[in-house]
Symmetry: C2
Subunit: 346 residues, 2 copies
Amino acid sequence: MMQTYFSPQQAAHAPLRELNNGEWVDFAETPARLDSVLRALGDTLVARDFGMDPILAVHDPDYIAFLQSAHDEWIAQGRSGDAIGYAFPVRARRPLNHKRIDARIGQYGFDAASPIAAGTWEAAYWGAQSALSAFETMASGDARRAFALCRPPGHHCGRDYFGGYCYLNNAAIVARQAALRGLGPVAILDVDYHHGNGTQDIFYEDKDVLFVSIHADPVEDYPYFWGHADETGTGDGAGKTVNLPLPRGTVWAGYQAALAQALETVRAHDTRFLIVSYGADTFAEDPISHFKLTTSDMREIGTAIGALDLPTLTVMEGGYKIEALGDNVAAFLAGLNKVACTGRPD
Amino acid sequence: MMQTYFSPQQAAHAPLRELNNGEWVDFAETPARLDSVLRALGDTLVARDFGMDPILAVHDPDYIAFLQSAHDEWIAQGRSGDAIGYAFPVRARRPLNHKRIDARIGQYGFDAASPIAAGTWEAAYWGAQSALSAFETMASGDARRAFALCRPPGHHCGRDYFGGYCYLNNAAIVARQAALRGLGPVAILDVDYHHGNGTQDIFYEDKDVLFVSIHADPVEDYPYFWGHADETGTGDGAGKTVNLPLPRGTVWAGYQAALAQALETVRAHDTRFLIVSYGADTFAEDPISHFKLTTSDMREIGTAIGALDLPTLTVMEGGYKIEALGDNVAAFLAGLNKVACTGRPD
């Protein structure tokens, strides 16, 4: 099995409730997700600590300072439980020196579904270190492929905002490192059910990092305000964002066609380092998603990506059918690893 | 007592819960607020129906269509109870053709504290008609001052968004009518505890309608992202937005100084028609606010505004200490009405 990186601290993030579909419900992105994957994958390598620099190469320092202190501020201001925002700057968003934690959460957030719990920073930090550990084993030449069991996930999180259960953008952090270390051109292929809006925003003006995403059409699925097909990058990054939204109910045939297009885009970018944001929430039984892929289809996705024969770092994103999560991840990785990677095809 | 306009349909808006300060709590802006004011003021005049045109002179047609159908869409998509949003477009907000009601609520909202209930449109519509009825009695020359017991309130609601318990901007609707009917220059003086961000946005580029607001400093109070002193209008409206934020704990002396400055700004605009967004949540015992004004201070605010000797239309905004709400409104109106209005001072 592929080298898998993980840190037990990632279980420290355990919010209780979120606002979703008009109801105050149990938080869906639970530590039990980790257990399901760990059971299926067996042995994992413990993440090493690469410190703050690679995180700050993607995220704004003020955002990171907020994330580190937010729950303490919440408690210091007399609140209990998880910190959660309720008002958001939909117009004229700009830096402001707020005193109140609710304002600060709104300043750095975009939904009421992503609470900050006592252990959120610790878990997010170690999730990023898991991704960086996977990256280093590849950068040092020890492996051509690796898997980072990141949790909480990362792809909804932008340079200066959190949301969608995501607090640090693990895929972006390793993509930036790959570019900085001269391993590019870099491509990020996002196959989570939901659009990776944070990743898109981070590289929206960047010509060196391609972002390609296959996801549920945001006219009917989260994150709604990002991921439409007409979002294609801007400035130097024009054409380097590719969104392939698919309708609810998509089965393998439809998914496969979009995947072929995505892989062709990755090839055309002359990609030398590929990062896959893998979500298992495309699975038919996922409780909050609406594609109809099977565990066998997960293997097919992995196989098709593996056939690119590129150095490939996979980071975990979503997937909420916990009983099946480990099997789906294992199937994807088995497909990806079916043929040994020889490096770059040419 | 001053002519007061009201419609019983305004009680139809009765959401159950809101997300506030990290908790899923009882909705604070209840129909009981109306009862408290009605008891204190005695007889009221029933609002007449001026139709949609004056509403559409302020709000975008697509926003109004959304507001009219949102709760029906919610139910049609299998939900129950009140419609409430949880994800908001903090970046690159733009028109999108969403199918899912959660996306549409996010597109037109900015908080998770303002549910849309079955009766929300009816109540908001008739609140606006109450304001228009008060306006018409003044425009026709029957009264120099009038009071519209609007509820739900309006000042957090913008051209194309709702929030802060507000769905139609009553003050803006009558301000626009006053300007269109040649009764200006028009000024809106907002003395609610919270900044009137919706009103500000609607007239931010407008040179003919002055917006002056005295409110809790948004570094620590809602709506957080608007109402800072450096927001002064733009384009033709440069200098025609004046924000006077005050710290928590403000007592009469501090308030009076800001009020004097606000009234001087109204005078300097050569105002001929004044609209007051009156909130009683500056009251010391208000459960969600933090100024320290007394009922007697409410009378002083009214007296100071009345001394401008301008045609003055007061619309109700916030105020959540229900037992005292009627007395505070009555005290304000009594102060305002202490000296008969003779028209324009010169």
